[in-house]
């Protein structure tokens, strides 16, 4: 499958293939009603009902996206209260890489996919601006980096071979999770990660974590600089990529052993 050319985007790598799956070349005259416009991406047109039209088509791209974070809500104590990570349901198209949105907002905004090379901004400028944003008090995103790579091995219990990923090419836990999901498409990631550690730090309380672990199939863990195996999602993203040496996707039952430690951490912070 073609990999999006730009790590920043996980989504439709090529809008035109989407076109071809719909009735493309037969559209001659554009009518002002706009409902007939079948060019490319969802988000065209004025009403949200039309977006649903693209649902079944986009399914081709979404086939790899399993439940993942999709319907898992968890209580982040971030400024907007309830957060949900989407990406699973087929009518909701891939929202792009910054996937965390408050539940209320999800309902009103049209879902838009990200497209390679759009908007037409040079990578240099993207990187510059990404490092400017945290100053403005927006949600802290990790610096897109200066071009260095941080490759770590990812193993999954029962998988015949390991994978390697570049941690620097993701900006937050959500992106990482999505990418891992794609890579190891037979598992389901637990939504224990928040979009940035600031929320996660306060957000995971004891009972919630237990629920997640019991209810899940697999859990994402990592080995840190000290050689300890930790649960992914506890610390801010920047701290995580600094200390992560390798990743491991374990069965939920095995990760229970980690729970007390994470609980202790949560307790210490609260």
């Amino acid at each position: 499958m073609s990999v999006p050319l730009e790590h920043d985007y996980i989504g439709l790598s090529d809008a035109s293939s989407l076109e071809r799956s719909t009735e493309s070349s037969n559209i001659n005259v554009f009518t002002l009603k706009a409902t007939e416009l079948s060019l490319g991406l969802p988000g065209f047109g004025k009403s949200y009902e039309e977006n649903a039209k693209f649902g079944p088509v986009v399914k081709n791209y979404m086939s790899g996206a399993k439940r993942g974070f999709s319907d898992v809500n968890f209580n982040g104590s971030g400024p907007s209260g309830k957060w949900a990570l989407n990406g699973g349901s087929e009518a909701d198209l891939c929202k792009g890489v910054n996937d965390v949105k408050p539940v209320e907002e999800e309902k009103k905004g049209p879902v838009k996919a990200q497209v390679v090379g759009w908007p037409p901004i040079r990578s240099f400028r993207k990187n510059t601006m990404a490092t400017n944003l945290p100053k403005n008090g927006d949600v802290a995103e990790a610096n897109l980096g200066s071009g260095e790579c941080l490759y770590v091995k990812v193993s999954m219990d029962g998988a015949p071979y390991l994978r390697k990923i570049d941690l620097k090419s993701y900006r937050n836990y959500a992106e990482l999770s999505k990418a891992l999901e794609k890579m190891f498409s037979c598992f389901t990631l637990v939504g224990q990660c928040s979009s940035n550690g600031i929320k996660g730090r306060d957000g995971l309380n004891e009972s919630k974590l237990k629920d997640l672990l019991h209810g899940s199939e697999c859990v994402l863990t990592y080995e840190d600089k000290d050689g300890d195996w930790m649960l992914v999602g506890d610390v801010p993203w920047e701290m995580f990529i600094d200390s992560c040496k390798r990743l491991r996707i374990t069965k939920g039952s095995e990760a229970i052993g980690l729970a007390p430690r994470s609980m202790a951490k949560c307790k210490n912070r609260n």
Binding site: M1, S2, L5, E6, D8, S13, D14, A15, S16, S17, E19, R20, S24, S25, I27, N28, V29, F30, L32, A34, L37, L39, G40, L41, G43, F44, G45, K46, G96, V97, N98, K101, E105, G109, K112, Q114, V115, V116, G117, W118, P119, P120, I121, R122, S123, F124, R125, K126, T128, M129, N132, L133, K135, N136, D138, S146, G147
Partner: protein, 594 residues
Amino acid sequence: MDLNQKRTRTVDRVDSVDPDLVSPESTPMCPFPDEVLEPVLSLINSHKDRSSVSLVCKDWYNAERWSRRHVFIGNCYSVSPEIVVGRFPKIRSVTLKGKPRFSDFNLVPEDWGADVYPWLSVLAKAYPFLEELRLKRMAVSDESLEFLAMNFPEFKALSLLSCDGFSTDGLKAIATHCRNLAELDIQENGIDDLGGDWLSCFPETLTTLQVLNFASLNSEVSFSDLEKLVTRCKSLRVLKVNRTINLDQLQKLLLRAPQLTELGTGTFTQDLVTRPVADLEATFGSCKNLLTISGLWDTNSLYLPVIYPACASLTFLNLSCAALRSFELAMLLIHCKSLRRLWVLDTVGDMGLEAVGSWCPLLEELRVFPADPFEQENVAGVTESGFVAVSRGCPKLHYVLYFCHQMTNAAVATVVQNCPGFTHFRLCIMNLGQPDYVTNEPMDEAFGAVVRTCPNLQRLAVSGLLTDLTFEYIGKYAKNLEILSVAFAGSSDLGLKYVLGGCPRLRKLEIRDCPFGNAALLSGLTKYESMRSLWMSACNLTMNGCRVLAKEMPRLNVEVMKDEDSEDSQAHKVYIYRTVAGPRRDAPPFVLTL
């Protein structure tokens, strides 16, 4: 008759001129001996004029080729290095452009080509005294930079824009071996930044530096070496440092180089105040020659005002790395009455743009970049009202690059009425397929107004919800249009047909994600030889359509880039360009020349 040593902006161009097309013997018509003709012609610098000169007659062709010192090659594959050196024996300066522009947005796979090395090895033999090399979108390796440094003893000026494939090791070679270096301009490249020690490689004997731009590198350099370098290079006029240089260090540099005309600062704030702001302000006041300021990373209301004393004579202010708010911009612009060019982030908002309209009556160029281009909801940024506000206050505006989330047809019509002199109109409505948000109609009338009202329009980029009507307008009215960028627009083949049937001056056409098919492509058959290039990706082209074109037009290279995903019959990415060099010999496996 030697070239003027001054760095000139207009350079010559190699046409794909077939020598046979030049008029034959015309000695009776051409009474000037070469000794007269050559010095006269050497005063002509514009590459378009030189092309015209070379077509007059054989004598003029010869005189022109002997007197040319700059050669500009807009597409490195349109000609081979051998042909260039064969025609022009005395070149001192080469400008080379490589990849299609959409490679800036990751639409061109890596290893596509445009390697500069084959050029360098030919140039080294033919022009051992080459002085200047300016590359844009070329693949440049460290080996190439080392080769350059070692084989051209008179080498003076290197400019790399949007290139990739090299690291700071290559820069070390340049700094170490180019004894006469006057210009090192490294901009926006895919460079592997391994550290800042390249700067320390400049020898103590180097005093000729006039331009040093390393703003886009991330690693820290040795400040003491930088300070020494700046101190001993008395002709330094352009200095653009990177973000690791702090305010204190900047001050020291400015005190050493009050003659600077262009300054790119480092980080423009400090946590620990080591020197009062008044000191800094005074230093800026002593820089009487500053015309351009850029950088200004992380700046804020406390530190930005230190540049006020230098603002009165500024002609270019590049704030695209500084996320200013509207009032910060407004306070700054009050002091910038001579401003001709302004680049900002959209954090300044419509109110910031109103300030532009109020305080910068001489403004000719405005670029508004999005601070958060991938955020699709809850975005601020600028709207149509900011655009209109600028146009009201700045009647001389002729270059605009505007990123926004919403626009109306009426606003654009008003803008061009206020500023009919547009030469470059690049509007990017970032939400794909966005109609006029007030009337819900397509944005056709906006661009119709642009092409009707602006007779000097050379470059146009369209966006928003567009039907074939936009292209009908463009084809009909845009008589001087040379560069057109289209994305996610149009309804049918007619759209492209209109453009190819009109626009007599079209040189570069780049299209992505539009419903244009083979019939449209083939309607432009005869036009492509008068253009530099055509890029079409994610349209409705098929391999068969491209094959037909390739067959009919042997002097074009019709290249298709294969994609793993798309079906075999589809032509996913097509790049068509005129050439006298034949098909590429260095094409990677995914590029098929038909």
